[in-house]
Amino acid sequence: MSETYLVNKLRDGSVLDHLRAGTALRALGALNLPPERTISVGIYLKSGRLERKDIIKIDSHQLTEEDAAKIALISPHATLSLIRNFKVVNKIELHPPLRFRGLIRCPNHACITRAESVRGSWLVMEREPVSVKCEYCDRTVPSDLFRFG
């Protein structure tokens, strides 16, 4: 028997699909979302491409590049689809960059970025799962310790 999910198609909004199973709630917490939006979250859904996956549908809100960059760090290879008038107007697979600024806070309390108003600067060391290195204090941070700021 095939499984079906009782989630309506979006008229306008954003869909994060093929999230690594178990990462949806972390992904949701990392996003900058306006209040009072309808959000559907599927966790541990059966998937053709992945054995299991998570999915997030956000009604009436277009995710930004910054949101997409955060999701790429949590769940590389997830896809982001932007929907307008029931049509997918843009669909991209998310990949972590080689290097980036901001997005996460260094967990090292002795790092200068915790004391000065400076954005973190990060080198991506491992791509799946992602780990990054702070270019100020050289601390390597695995993805489960990311704190999005």
Binding site: N108, A110, C111, I112, T113, R114, A115, E116, S117, V118, C134, E135, Y136, C137, D138, R139, T140
Partner: protein, 312 residues
Amino acid sequence: MVSVSDFAGRDVITVNEFRRDEIVFLLDAAAQFEQVTGTLLAGRVIATLFFEPSTRTRLSFESAVGRLGGSCVGFAEAGVSSQAKGESLADTVRVVEGYSDLLLLRHPLEGAARLAAEVAQIPVVNCGDGAHQHPTQTFVDLYTMQRECGRIDGLHVVFAGDLRYGRAVHSLVSVLTLFNARITLVSPQFLRLPEEQRRTLETLGVEYREMESLEASLPEADVLYMTRVQRERFTDPTEYDKFKDAYTLDMSVLQNARDSLAILHPLPRVQEIAREVDVHPHAAYFRQAHYGVAVRKALMALILGHADKVLA
């Protein structure tokens, strides 16, 4: 082929930014600068921003500047800087760079020197940023090995004491990988070299071993690098009390070592080297502190573009 131009205007933030041939070039330059005094840095002003206490690093830099005819401005503790009034490091750097040609920075927070270098238009030398890096100490340590042992390549170096918080150890261990050194790490479990550094050694295929007995580590060693257990790095004083006397090097411990063992220590020492060891012919730690002047003379002259007047 390394030349003086590779150092001109350069920031010195971590040792990892230096290739092996650049380090060898600097150490050769230091040897040529040992006896040099004069007016090479006349009219140049060096800023010493020391937000944390320092004796050897600050004084050896100031001595080096003085011997080359330059002058210093700055402060030796955060309490007398504008930081005490709430000024950010970035603003302090922006102000002081207008007064000087080179900025020497010590700061308790990791990455402070990197931030200063991003902000400043003049070169910045990291003189210690928290438990992170202390690159000029590493150059001095390497120079000491070269002077005391006649080489660095292939030495068997034993590190003993606080390998967890000791920034001098972190910097030196990573650079010794460029010189095919054999490395032995002696510490209590709690003060082991951080996992990240051990992983790096493994990734690089560096031969190293860990042990807890100082005596057992010594028979095959060429260099013993002793370190102090640093009270200021412990958040829990009871942990410090537990480990502060972990190792004491005395003449009876040295009976396990070769006569030629060179004994280094970045200083200050507390009790980890007994006073009786000071007369050992290869107790090199005071000479090591003195070599700092030659290394820092060479480094500043190179950065400020004046070294070609001395180097053959």
